[in-house]
């Protein structure tokens, strides 16, 4: 295949912030009004572009946090050395405008017709697209069994805790805390490893559909352990994010 130069297409549009919700000390959910939003699928993301006064631009991808019949929202974790996330989490206010393009992604998505059982494995803010999947499941009345194992540093870093704890009827949510655990903690402790996965994961014979989202190191470790448990790679979908 030959090298080619292709003229870029304009796909960016302007959205308006309708609310900013504090999830944790470092995490905000930003609800957006996007004119002519075509609707999205659970698990998709969008790109945000910030432009400085001198024309410098920075782009980042953020998972969409809501089901497709809800307003568009992203959940953003502040990275202290980041270019984009400090602005989004600390400076952005209701009524501000934001340049974005999306929805994006045709692989790391779940539709009710894809079935399950679902195994959702989240590292840190990797829980965001998995939360969208759970909301989509609930709002469509799906009875696909789902298990979420969600790894955070401390209990204060857990995003959507109240919402996740309310799930019943076929959704099981487990937490693990890697850095410190509060007194009386009944969840798991430490990084997701083979032993923890063996307790939480569906037996491979049930042909589960797995979504793993987190920092690259989390995804690589978890995906390797899943293969060791006999999960076929074709039913494990992964999404990695970096810190910048």
């Amino acid at each position: 295949m030959a090298t080619a130069a292709v003229r870029g297409r304009l796909t960016w549009q302007t959205a308006t912030v309708t609310s900013v919700i504090t999830e944790t000390v470092a995490v905000r959910t930003i609800e957006l009004d996007v004119p002519d939003w075509p609707g999205h699928r659970a698990g998709q993301h969008l790109d945000v572009r910030l432009t400085a006064e001198d024309g410098y631009t920075a782009e980042r991808s953020y998972s969409i946090a809501t089901a497709d019949d809800e307003p568009v929202a992203i959940t953003v974790e502040r990275l202290d050395d980041g270019e984009v996330s400090p602005y989004l989490t600390e400076e952005l206010r209701t009524g501000d405008q934001l340049e974005l393009r999306g929805p994006i992604g045709g692989w790391f998505v779940w539709d009710t017709s894809d079935g399950g059982p679902l195994l959702l494995l989240a590292g840190g803010s990797g829980v965001v697209p998995l939360r969208a999947i759970l909301r989509h499941r609930q709002r469509t009345g799906s009875d696909v069994p789902a298990r979420l194992l969600y790894s955070s540093r401390t209990v204060a870093d857990v995003i959507y805790r109240t919402e996740l704890d309310q799930y019943r009827d076929g959704v099981e949510v487990s937490y693990t805390l890697t850095r410190s655990q509060p007194p009386g903690w009944t969840g798991y402790s430490g990084r997701v490893d083979a032993a923890m996965l063996a307790k939480v994961a569906w037996p491979a014979g049930q042909h589960p559909l797995t979504f793993v989202c987190g920092p690259t190191s989390f995804v690589e470790a978890v995906a390797g352990n899943l293969v060791a448990l006999g999960y076929p790679a074709g039913r494990v979908k992964t999404e990695r994010f970096g810190g910048a």
Partner: protein, 86 residues
């Protein structure tokens, strides 16, 4: 630099090709491995965006923006098939 995966270039590919290609199938020209774009290894901040085969590490695709033009090198792929998925 931390490697991401092909999900992270969905917007870039949409911009360049006009379609969402994260679920498109790639065949590595070096080792023959088949993988969807979402499963490839992606370096966003190389000189340009570099997409590598997760099986053998060879470069599948490079996209660089030069003077407002996106320069796309697909030479590392034996096939790049959008497939039936939207």
């Amino acid at each position: 630099m931390v490697a991401l995966d092909g999900n992270s270039i969905g917007g870039l590919l949409l911009d360049v090709f006009g379609a969402d290609l994260t679920a498109a199938q790639t065949i590595c020209a070096t080792c023959g491995a088949a993988a969807v774009v979402a499963e490839t290894v992606v370096y966003l901040r190389a000189p340009g965006t570099v997409v590598r085969c997760r099986t053998c590490g060879s470069v599948l695709m490079v996209i660089a923006e030069i003077r407002g033009m996106s320069c796309v090198d697909l030479g590392g792929m034996a096939a790049f098939d959008q497939g039936a998925d939207r």
